[in-house]
């Protein structure tokens, strides 16, 4: 460590470059840490909520969202394997006159205590209540027990009345007490199960049964014995499965965000590379001298790596602290899912995770070491005798980089793109992006040499000088262009990907929302349905030309997997109403057609023409895959059946949504009011497609808000890198500027020379960045998004935005070069050349 002042002291000497590398690593680590900390907090809170809801259950019986026959409860409760069974009916409802939603659990209070004691309702002592009423408060059909957090959100207290929708009808309930064991859930309410079945028209139905097994019986054995008793589409699952599914659902989004943060870190590593490469060149005689007086090659390599590692260490420690602060702000501002909608309604608490923080510190150190590696290798390989004589310029112009390695990395990224996902993650895609980015940076000197050959040596003196310099020392431009290439590539890739997705979602919304008006039975997920009578009433409303109803449900196709959405609505035999991917496959007479989303194609391997079995109304039915449609709304997959087929197969004639086409000349607002009035209670919500589209795109933009922040960060880092590189280069060329001034060049001409050189270097970086960014965008669209979220999209390049961005960056880079030159020219020209006399 005695040599520490020799090397680490040089970091202080070149403060600006060190600070920029440090800032880039701080930013990369802070963003990654923040995403990690927020998601960890959200998952912990989600898991805690789930554990409260599932209590000490060993197994849970789960089925479609619409529920299953309660007779199953009696069969399971009587089994010798089961010590206690607790039936549950979950419904979501909303408070009349507000947007507050409530998660109502209908529970059997006699079975509850042994399985989910945390949900035990505690009646409050209310004025004017008899002792008998107080004792049986939990069984009263109009009583509701709210968690303390829900009481706060709804601003009610025990004794108050709460009006909610039961289906499409109003229902008045009394807040009879609280749930001491689940005080923190802001949407949780508990009622007697019989009351929920009655009020919400779910007589004879359950959505879950929590099972406690007899002592000594393991869940695996019990599952094998009990599974044959279950109807189709109903499965036995471990309570923690839902936690894992939630983690999986948000994982791809989280990993993508983390990798975007990692890209900021990679950009930071490139800045370290750029700063170290220039620093090593500027110190080449100093380093050669150290070698001459006895510093071993490996010692030099080690200490130059240590410089990068120190910047990485300091940056990552500050980044971890900043990341936690950022996470705190993000939790407050966007919630536990950073606006993506996975964990709505949760109030996660941030916790410091030593292991995760340690990993991020290591990543920061790794970025610093990676950035310092090649310059350190180059410096250690230089012969000291030559380096002692060479000038800064000649050392820089001799840099040829590693074009061979660059080409290998670029070529190797192609086969990585066809790798299947590993653990559901597009690892091949990420490696390909890394290979492309690194390969192109290593290949940059070749690009600069290529450009140098076509730049003419004509025109005014600054132009000739700039062109001559590019020809003589393309390596110098390449070093300055490294940061630009990395940040432009990242920004261009993200811009193309986000623009493609947004454009595709916009087109998709237009395809799936062809009607004039859309109606639904309330906002809450399973609260309201349109009865058959109401459907007839709606069809008969004056001004309505045509109505298409949709039934929503969810199916569980396999144990341990998240539910798949089922949509039943009128679909023609060729599926022309759907946003199809590829062509439809004709289905034979007598067969039932099902249209699957891309997620089911990817996750279950279903193909058009395949026969598949679906659990509908407790039985398995065989259907035939007629085609694949694009569904940006449901990540875990969705199925679409023709409504007539669904009704024939299930006997269920209810619906939740309706698409309404107006008669010619009908007034949309008037018809909307008439439709709402048909519902009677105000439970029906009618919107125009434009409103749904605007709301959807708003949600889209909110989801990508974090990526915009990352893009802005990348641009700032890239620009800062350019400024730092030019400052270092200009400082190394003080004597050259002094000589040029002696020869008669004005300050203005030298400024023009620098601006030209800045534009050329930035131009090389921008050209390379846009090319590589386009390739990375393709990988993001075709590999990363497809494997992470299972949706395809059409390529849409935002040419105007990219050109404006490129032009602005080139201008700013030229400005940075001129400013850096001015700084270097502040010294008197005579003094600047003194060392040469």
């Amino acid at each position: 460590m005695r040599l520490a002042p020799v090397f680490l002291g040089s970091l202080v000497r070149r403060r600006a470059a060190t600070l920029l590398s440090f800032a880039a690593i701080v930013l990369g680590v802070a963003l990654g840490m923040a995403v990690q900390a927020v998601n960890q907090a959200a998952l912990a809170e989600f898991g805690r909520g789930l554990r409260t809801l599932s209590g000490v259950a060993d197994l849970q019986v789960v089925g479609p969202r619409g529920g299953f026959d309660e007779a199953l409860y009696a069969r399971l409760a009587a089994r010798p394997e089961v010590a206690q069974a607790s039936p549950v009916l979950e419904v979501w409802t909303e408070r009349i006159g507000s947007t507050d939603t409530l998660h109502v659990l209908g529970l059997d209070l006699f079975a509850l205590g042994a399985v989910t004691p945390a949900l035990w309702p505690q009646p409050a002592k209310l004025d004017g209540q008899s002792e008998r009423e107080a004792r049986f408060a939990a069984l009263a059909e109009n009583n509701l027990f709210l968690s303390a957090a829900a009481q706060t959100v709804l601003a009610v207290q025990p004794g108050d009345r709460l009006r909610v929708y039961a289906g499409t009808q109003p229902l008045e309930l009394r807040v009879a007490g609280d749930l001491p064991g689940a005080a923190e859930d802001p949407q949780l309410a508990v009622m007697d199960i019989a009351a929920v079945q009655k009020h919400f028209a779910r007589i004879g139905q359950l959505t879950r049964i929590d099972l406690r097994l007899v002592d000594g019986l393991d869940a695996q054995t019990a599952r094998a014995t009990l599974a044959p008793l279950l109807p189709a589409g109903v499965w036995l699952e471990a309570p923690q499965t839902a936690e894992g599914q939630a983690a999986n659902l948000s994982r791809a989004y989280r990993v993508n965000l983390t990798l975007l943060a990692a890209m900021a870190l990679v950009t930071g590593a490139f800045l370290v590379f750029s700063a170290q490469a220039l620093s090593v060149v500027r110190r080449h005689t100093e380093l050669a001298f150290l070698r001459a007086i006895g510093l071993a090659r490996h010692q030099l390599f080690f200490w130059l790596l240590a410089e990068g590692a120190l910047v990485g260490l300091l940056g990552s420690v500050v980044g971890v602290v900043l990341g936690h602060g950022l996470a705190f702000g993000l939790l407050k501002l966007l919630g536990g899912d950073l606006g993506a909608g996975f964990f709505a309604g949760l109030s996660p608490t941030l916790k410091f995770d030593l292991w995760a923080s340690g990993i991020y510190v290591l990543l920061g150190v790794g970025a610093g070491v990676a950035g310092a590696w090649l310059p350190a290798r180059e410096a250690a390989s230089v012969a000291p005798a030559q380096a002692l004589k060479a000038s800064d310029d000649s050392a820089l112009s001799q840099r040829r980089g590693y074009p061979g390695l660059g080409l290998i990395l670029i070529v190797a990224s192609a086969p990585l793109c066809v790798l299947p996902p590993i653990l559901g993650l597009p690892i091949g895609g990420y490696l390909a992006i890394f290979g492309l980015l690194t390969g192109s940076v290593l290949w940059l000197p070749m690009l600069a040499s290529g450009l140098a050959r076509v730049v003419p040596l004509r025109g005014p003196v600054p132009v000739r000088l700039a062109a001559a310099r590019l020809r003589a020392a393309p390596g110098m431009s390449a070093v300055a262009a490294t940061g630009v290439l990395a940040s432009v590539a990242l920004v261009a890739a993200m811009a193309i990907m986000v623009s493609s997705l947004r454009d595709s979602v916009d087109v998709w919304l237009g395809q799936i929302l062809p009607a004039d008006l859309y109606l639904r039975a309330g906002r809450a997920q399973s609260g309201g349905v349109l009865s058959e009578a109401l459907q007839v009433q709606l069809t008969d409303v004056s001004g309505v030309a045509r109505v298409q109803f949709t039934r929503h449900d969810s199916l569980r196709l396999a144990p341990g997997q998240p539910p798949v959405a089922l949509l039943a609505r009128p679909v023609s035999s060729d599926g022309r109403e759907l946003p199809l991917v590829g062509s439809a496959r004709a289905v034979a007479e007598g067969e039932t057609a099902v249209w699957i989303s891309e997620a089911l194609y990817d996750l279950r391997g279903w193909r058009p023409g395949d026969h598949v079995r679906l659990p509908l109304a407790g039985s398995e039915v065989q259907v035939r895959v007629a085609g694949i449609w694009r569904d940006y709304a449901r990540q875990t997959g969705s199925l679409m059946l023709d409504l007539a087929d669904y009704r024939r197969l299930t006997g269920d004639r209810s619906a939740q949504d309706a698409a309404i086409w107006l008669a010619p000349g009908a007034d949309a607002l008037g018809v909307a009011e008439a439709l709402k009035a048909a519902g009677g209670s105000g439970a029906l919500e009618v919107t125009v497609p434009g409103e749904i589209r605007a709301r959807s795109l708003r949600i889209f933009d909110r989801t990508f808000a974090v990526t915009y922040v990352l893009e802005a960060a990348a641009v700032i880092i890239g620009l800062a890198g350019v400024a730092a590189s030019f400052a270092a280069l200009a400082a190394a060329r003080r004597r050259e500027f002094g000589l040029l001034r002696h020869l008669g060049l004005t300050r203005g001409q030298i400024g023009s020379l620098l601006a030209l050189e800045g534009s050329l270097a930035a131009g090389i970086g921008i050209f390379g960045g846009l090319t590589v960014g386009g390739a990375i965008a393709w990988i993001l669209i075709e590999v990363v998004n497809r494997q992470s979220f299972h949706w395809s999209m059409d390529l849409h390049v935002p040419w105007v935005s990219l050109l404006v961005f490129a032009g602005t960056l080139a201008t700013l880079a030229s400005l940075a070069a001129v400013l850096a030159g001015r700084q270097a020219m502040r010294e008197d020209a005579v003094l600047a050349v003194r060392e040469d006399w």
Binding site: V6, V12, E286, I293, P384
Partner: protein, 217 residues
Amino acid sequence: MLEISNLYRQFNNRPVLKAISLRLEPGEYVAITGESGVGKSTLLNVIAGLNRPDRGRLALDGEDYAALGEEALTRLRRDKLGFVFQAFHILPHLTLRQNVTLPLWLKGQGGPWADRQAECLLDAVGLADRAESWPRELSGGEMQRVAIARALVHSPRLVLADEPTGNLDPTNAARVLRLLGERIRTAGSMGILVTHSPDAARSADRVLQLTPEGLRG
């Protein structure tokens, strides 16, 4: 003792050093002069182990190091050689004391003893009161005196000086040359001064001329 006999070195098939022989006793200080391009710096680099001779013997205190590997040559330079350059090569982010202590750090010797050694040498070159100063605060002559202190701090057997007065005015040059000669002789080391300047060469015990045919006494 330094023994060089029949040393050859060529670059791009062009002979640069031919039949070079030289013998130096402890305490002896010689100057090598010659026309530009005759190979003075190459000879110094070969003696320093920075370039390898194509053939010939090169021994320090009886140990032939012409064919040693890179690691061994690095150790040799660290332990037995001292350098003074025309461009000083004083590290700008180290204080004078730290710059002088640097060769001791490389040998794994630090702490108060090393600091005392550096102070002794700085005292010897007349800069004891500037030990905590930064290189930017020094004149060219002062920087070269620091370089001399640094070249001698680890008691090398051989000091190699390549145009050490090339960047100095005559007064400072004379002072630096006197100091260099005195310190080499006092320490019992051997010294080789490579220079263009006849005045500088006269400060050595004997002057040799490098010609395309070899060293002439």
